[in-house]
């Protein structure tokens, strides 16, 4: 079943009279419950695509349907509701609130999510049950990223959007994080969309979307994706 459907989506940035296309006439359909990797070099438009899917940005033209809802015409408040209910974000730089403990960082989504999951459970899922009262600054990078994943999952979203989630981690920790994300797709049925320029990560994906110069170059399903252990990091 399709969860994401983009039709003729363009995103243009204007600087005076100069126009720059970050995305140009993009059509894309993605299936639910899959581990999807969007691959491309810097400046290809992959982060723009992710931001549009996450409701952080709106397209200049075209329509974006996520979970059957057209998000391209939503107001600021409606987009906030959409982010609160449908998508979770994981960033390269974790973006945790430094003044809240691990548990509080995850539990804060209860304030806005309509159907949140147990924060304790989510932290247990990501293997941080013993660190719940620590502040982010007391954790390693990998641990902070796992808190960020737990926070994204605690909203019980249908889609998890990950922008270079292993970019700031060493390869060993990166593998742990990727395994965790894969497990979320396989066991919890979440759609995981990972944006990266790392070709190796693409080997784990059910679907690989290649982006270049603001266009989708290819969108291929992989019948036998590798496990994290099988990939040569």
């Amino acid at each position: 079943m399709e969860i994401v459907e983009l039709k003729a989506v363009s995103r243009v940035y204007r600087n005076g009279e100069h126009e720059q296309y970050a995305l140009k006439q993009v059509d894309l359909t993605l299936k639910e419950g899959k581990f999807i990797v969007i691959l491309g070099p810097s400046g290809a438009g992959k982060s723009t695509l992710l931001n549009l899917l996450g409701g952080l940005d709106s397209p200049t033209s075209g329509t974006i349907h996520v979970a059957g809802k057209d998000i391209s015409t939503l107001t600021e408040d409606q987009l906030a509701d959409y982010r609160a209910a449908t998508v979770g974000f994981v960033f390269q730089s974790y973006n945790l609130i430094p003044t809240l403990t691990v548990l509080e960082n995850v539990a804060l989504v209860k304030e806005i999510a309509p159907d949140p999951l147990s924060s304790h459970e989510m932290l247990k899922e990501v293997g941080l049950a013993d660190h719940i009262h620590q502040f982010p600054s007391e954790l390693s990078g990998g641990e902070q990223q796992r808190v960020s994943i737990a926070r994204a999952l605690a909203k019980n979203p249908r889609i998890l959007l990950c922008d270079e989630p292993t970019g700031a981690l060493d390869s060993e920790t990166g593998v742990l994080v990727l395994k965790l994300l894969l497990r979320m797709a396989r066991e919890m049925g979440k759609t995981i969309i990972v944006v990266t320029h790392n070709q190796q990560i693409a080997k784990m994906a059910d679907t690989v979307v290649r982006v270049k110069n603001g266009r989708i170059v290819s969108c291929e399903d992989q019948e036998h994706p590798m496990t994290a252990e099988e990939v040569d990091w």
Binding site: E104, E111, I112, F135
Partner: protein
């Protein structure tokens, strides 16, 4: 190239830089303004007193002094100059106005300062030199004719000149009136020749003397020379000198209190803001260092911001100071309604320039230290973004109550603790705002209550009739009081220890005069003893039940009476009933009648009458000045609150930008994030107000003691003042919070979250 960067950085941090400049300008303005006020007043009044030969001592005798008496005084070692002097309140013919008719035999002492017309002529037989202020208010010009009446004496002459005089620098008819009212009261000088022509003999009840001798020495020498004890008053006991000195001392006190508050806030704002600005510039500082710029060059570059801010703030502050000085000291200024000077020139005391140089150095030093902190270590260290202190667990976090708090509360609470200096500054800004509001509005409440109690409640008559005491017998005075259905009193001066104080003996049957206790409540006078004012009680260590001793001037007798109570009084006085005075055998002469009668026909027994309305009218000017002062304080409080809170709000917003972007990405709406931001401001506001109210009361209490102890003011703060102070401070905080919260809409989630943490 760095020059271009400097300009762009200034634009980038314009809110911060502008707020630092405003705070320094406010602090410097208040500092320069108030110090300029007292210093200019000291010099301007000094010039008039010097030019008119203001006397150091005044020797009184009801019987008058002969030329030989003056010779004896002039022969005293240490006496430089002297004059026989007369000053009596006369009624202006065809009018109810009163002019203090003045004659000084030697015009070099207690003389005049010509503003217009002919110079003073000691031989003139028809010349009147009139107060220019009185002339202006009453439409009198040089060349006009003027007639004056004192008892049976009639003086008529031509206005030859318009003048000012040191003796009447503060021109008040008596101590009940606080502000001059030139519409109804002024002064005029005539020559000794004209006086002699009018009364056919010489009569001078006063000798005014210029002398450097200390008072005790002068009194001893003068009494020895004259061969009797007599009332001798020094400069301190003269209203023109004492009140103008009081104003100067008030200015000195204000110049050392208010600027401290403003400058402390300015410096703290500077420390916090410069640190934040350099912290957010840290990677740029690191980049310059990595590129090969020397530390000294980078330090100079960033220190130059602080120097520029300091220079601009100080320059603007000096302007504000001059404006403040001009508002108080100019021909149309606030002080000119009180003190009558020929010229109002503004001078800045020398030490102010030194203090301003120190402020500039200090402010620049703050910039220097801030950038040096960011430059510490290697180029690689400097390149790393500034990281605030790591969070630490607090004991309170273990409590159930803390755990039960919502996420927003925890977030704000920890943020306050993490950014202590910012939180402290916010608190300090709110505190300053509340202190100014409570202090300013409380001052108005206190004076309103004072005026109401002293003048609406205590003065319960319509007219006060001054009798020609020497020529009115007791039975005549009593008959007059009876005819006017009034009460009477006998006012005089007595010596208590070395000090002259008023002795006021009252016969109150018709409730025309009331007396206030130290709580400003009406209290009846008993016959069992004397009542003293708060200052005598304090200075002499007297309390109810003690005894006090005093002696009348021109007499060797002394009297001891028990202290029956302590009163609030405008004058330093001993008050008693006539029954008490009679029982103690104290002699007195009835010289005042208090009545509700509206018309007081002229009568040989009556010198003049003074209406309560005239006294109250003089307060209008005083209260108007007070209102303007309070309005200025309220404006200062609001400016201070807005500038400090906005600056810190922007800082808080910038520092939490990334956190707010995260919340926005997670799904928080702008309104909710805005509420979180405003909540923190409001918490600090609540704490600031809770501390500010008692601090405001404390400051006001101190100011009342330091500035106006002679009025024995009782601190009064009405509920409206509390309500306005709280609501206005809250309003300022909320307004600034909303202004900052509006910025949420423009948070660029993508850009914010991409940046390196």
């Amino acid at each position: 190239m760095l020059r271009k960067k400097r300009l762009r950085t200034l634009l980038k941090y314009k809110a911060q830089f502008i707020s630092m400049i405003i705070m320094i300008a406010l602090g410097v303005g208040v500092f320069v303004g108030f110090n300029m006020e007292w210093y200019s007043l000291e010099r301007d009044t000094g010039e008039l007193l010097e030019a008119t030969g203001f006397a150091d001592y005044r020797i009184y005798s009801e019987k008058g002094f002969t030329a030989q008496d003056l010779e004896k005084i002039l022969a005293v070692d240490g006496v430089k100059e002297g004059t026989r002097f007369l000053s009596v309140n006369t009624t202006v013919q065809g009018d109810t106005n009163v002019l203090a008719l003045t004659v000084s035999e030697n015009i070099q002492v207690s003389g005049v300062y010509l503003m217009d017309g002919e110079p003073y002529d000691p031989e003139s037989l028809d010349g009147i030199w009139l107060s220019d202020q009185y002339a202006e208010k009453n439409g009198i010009h040089v060349g006009d004719s003027l007639g004056l009446t004192y008892k049976i004496m009639q003086v008529r002459g031509t206005v030859k000149g318009l003048i000012k005089a040191g003796e009447y620098m503060i021109c008040l008819p008596d101590e009940t009136q606080m502000m001059p009212d030139y519409n109804s009261y002024g002064f005029a000088y005539i020559s000794p020749a004209m006086l002699k022509k009018a009364i056919l003999f010489e009569f001078y009840p006063q000798i005014n003397v210029i002398s450097d001798l200390p008072k005790a020495d002068f009194v001893a020498a003068a009494e020895r020379a004259l061969g009797k004890t007599t009332l001798i008053l020094g400069r301190d006991e003269n209203v023109s000198w004492a009140e103008s000195r009081g104003e100067i001392e008030e200015g000195q006190t204000m110049g050392s209190i208010l600027p401290v508050l403003f400058l402390a806030i300015a410096v703290l704002t500077m420390v916090t803001t410069m640190h934040r600005v350099t912290a957010s510039e840290k990677t740029q500082i690191g980049t310059l260092k990595a590129l090969g710029f020397r530390n000294r060059r980078i330090i100079l570059h960033y220190t130059s911001y602080a120097l520029m801010i300091g220079l601009m703030g100080i320059a603007l502050g000096i302007g504000v100071g001059y404006l403040l000085g001009w508002y108080i000291l100019s021909p149309g200024g606030a002080m000119a309604t009180y003190i009558d000077l020929p010229a109002w020139k503004l001078y800045v005391p020398g030490f102010c320039w030194a203090v301003l140089a120190a402020i500039l150095l200090f402010v620049t030093g703050i910039g220097f230290l801030s950038v040096r902190e960011m430059l510490a270590g290697t180029a690689a260290d400097a390149l790393r973004p500034y990281t605030p202190k790591k969070m630490r667990h607090l004991r309170v976090e273990e409590t159930k109550a803390f755990k039960a708090l919502g996420f927003g509360t925890k977030w704000n609470l920890r943020d306050c603790l993490r950014h202590k200096s910012r939180s402290f500054m916010t608190l300090f800004g709110v505190l300053g705002c509340t202190i100014l509001l409570v202090g300013g509005l409380g001052m108005k409440d206190t004076l309103d209550a004072f005026v109401t109690q002293f003048y609406d409640v205590a003065i319960h008559y319509r007219n006060r009739i001054n009798l020609d005491g020497e020529n009115v017998t007791r039975s005549d005075a009593e008959a007059l009081a009876e005819a006017y259905e009034g009460d009477w009193s006998a006012m005089g001066s007595v010596q208590m220890g070395e000090k002259p104080v008023s002795l006021e003996i009252y016969h109150i049957q018709r409730d025309k005069v009331r007396f206030l206790d130290t709580d400003m409540k009406v209290t009846p006078l008993g016959d069992e003893g004397a009542y003293i004012c708060g200052r005598i009680a304090r200075d002499q260590g007297l309390k109810t039940g003690d005894s006090l001793t005093f002696s009348p001037y021109d007499s060797e007798d002394s009297y001891t009476v028990p202290v029956a109570g302590v009163l609030s009084s405008l004058t330093e006085s001993i008050v008693m009933t006539d029954a008490c005075a009679d029982a103690a055998g104290i002699p007195y002469t009835i010289n005042t009648v208090y009545t509700d009668a509206e018309e007081i026909p002229s009568d040989s027994r009556i010198l003049n009458a003074q209406s309560k309305k005239a006294i109250m009218d003089s307060f209008d000017t005083f209260m108007e000045l007070m209102n303007v002062m309070v309005a200025l304080l309220v404006i200062a409080a609001v400016v201070l609150g807005v500038v400090v809170l906005y600056n810190l709000g922007v800082m808080s917003y910038t520092e939490r930008y990334r956190e707010m972007a995260t919340l926005k990405v997670v799904g928080f709406k702008d309104r909710k994030i805005g509420r979180l931001l405003i909540t923190q401001n409001l918490w600090l506001t609540v704490v600031g107000i809770a501390l500010g109210i008692p601090a405001g009361i404390g400051v006001l209490r101190y100011l009342l003691t330091a500035l106006a102890s002679e009025y024995e003011l009782k601190l009064v703060i009405g509920p409206v003042t509390y309500a306005v102070s709280v609501l206005l401070t809250f309003g300022v905080s909320l307004l600034v919070g909303l202004m900052i919260a509006r910025k949420n809409r423009h948070i660029d989630m993508v850009a914010a979250l991409k940046t390196e943490e």
